[in-house]
């Protein structure tokens, strides 16, 4: 029992880096994804094209490769980033691309009449997006955003290869040292707990937005 507690304490430490990567990525990737979605929908062709290429690159290559690139390849051209910053950069750019496509689909699903009503009331593009389109879009994209967010929890385990002591790496270290599989089970419980909390939060959000019907 004492041994198990020791394992759990060590892994709580490891879960801190996991949680850091998760929260900071989420906080940066959501707004960046929204900007990318708006850029992708822009009538400025160069902007829209640039965002399209960015999304293609991020979705078309493995996140693992992107992590390795930022971590090992950038220093070769003289760009040295602290470990955590390198990891956050790769995660944010990758997740923003996925969020962007979800937001774009959400924005495009809003009826044309909403834009026309806003226009005839004198609202500007920014007012229309901020007050009319995006609030309705958020409600519609909650389920896919919830999906991606849960994926992010699990994808944080990829930083394992960057020799950062995240939850999974701590577990493996203990397993190798003590020939005991319990840490893997504990790690599984940690991930499940995180996704449980997230699922609960998204349920609450969906309930909040359900106050109006469409």
């Amino acid at each position: 029992m004492e041994k198990l507690m020791g394992t759990v304490m060590l892994m709580l430490d490891g879960s801190q880096i996991t949680l850091q990567i998760f929260f900071i990525t989420l906080v940066m990737a959501l707004p960046l994804g929204l900007l990318a979605a708006l850029g992708r929908l822009s009538k400025l062709r160069p902007l829209s094209f640039f965002v399209e290429v960015y999304i293609w690159l991020m979705r078309g290559t493995p996140l693992m490769l992107q992590l390795l690139f930022v971590y090992f390849a950038l220093p070769m051209v003289g760009i040295m980033l602290p470990d955590i910053v390198a990891a956050l950069l790769a995660f944010t750019l990758n997740y923003a691309a996925y969020f962007a496509e979800i937001f774009r689909a959400g924005i495009q699903s809003i009826e044309r009449g909403q834009y026309e009503a806003a226009k005839t009331l004198g609202m500007t593009y920014v007012q229309t997006m901020r007050r009319i389109i995006i609030p309705q879009m958020v409600r519609r994209v909650l389920p896919p955003i919830s999906n991606e967010t849960i994926n992010l929890v699990k994808d944080t385990s990829l930083i394992y290869i960057l020799a950062m002591n995240d939850l999974l790496r701590v577990a493996r270290t203990i397993v190798q040292r003590e020939f005991d599989m319990t840490p893997f089970v504990v790690a599984g419980v940690f991930y499940l707990a995180m996704t449980f909390v997230l699922t609960w939060i998204f349920k609450k959000l969906e309930a909040h937005y359900a106050k109006y019907d469409e």
Partner: protein
Amino acid sequence: MQNTMNENNVMIRMHQIYKKFGALEVLKGIDVEVNRGEVLAIIGPSGSGKSTLLRCLNRLESIDGGSIEVEGDFLAVENSAGIATYAEASLSKEILGKMGMVFQQFNLFPHMTVLENLIEAPVHVKQIASDEIIPVAEELLRKVGLYEKRDAYPARLSGGQQQRVAIARALAMKPDIMLFDEPTSALDPELTGDVLKTMRQLAEEHMTMIVVTHEMAFAREAAHHVIFMADGNIVEQGIPEDIFGAPKEERTKAFLQNML
């Protein structure tokens, strides 16, 4: 700028309006004048261009040729090559701000309550303080008979109620001109009555209105002037008594016969 209009009571003048969607010419040189306080009804079969004409007036569609004048200011003028060019942004915004629009599909904002729908544009476009505009909005809701629905979301209302909220929302911006694009076409027949009543009431208050409609009874009783359109042209126009009582053109006769 008022001096460009000889008759003081002409409020809107659309001159030789041309509009194409791709290769399809939907407006083929339309002239329309609307006097202050007048109700103009535009009738005609589907695809005649009547909704497009209305949407060109408030720039939901852009015209290809012709000019549009509202209370002496030009929203669009025609250059020597016959191409329409629009007024610069601030003048355009001022002119468009004089017009309120009611859509066939209501287009209320579903994530806002009835009252929030009404005050949204006054607060954020006109920068009116909300405690100043709320009493105005409540008065408008009383007028359309929906005060008790002020905190309801649009989806909880019937189509007819939603359309009356949409009318109140447009009125909250204090427009000089109200445009109605088939306001009762999406409603069940038994729900059109209250919407038409609200529109009649507006007409009695001398609101300048342009109404694209399939409601012949409304056009006949509430309009001062009726335009019959077909295939992008004005086929016939005049006072309701003449258009409905003694139409001259075969096209008009056939259309009216079908509508009865």
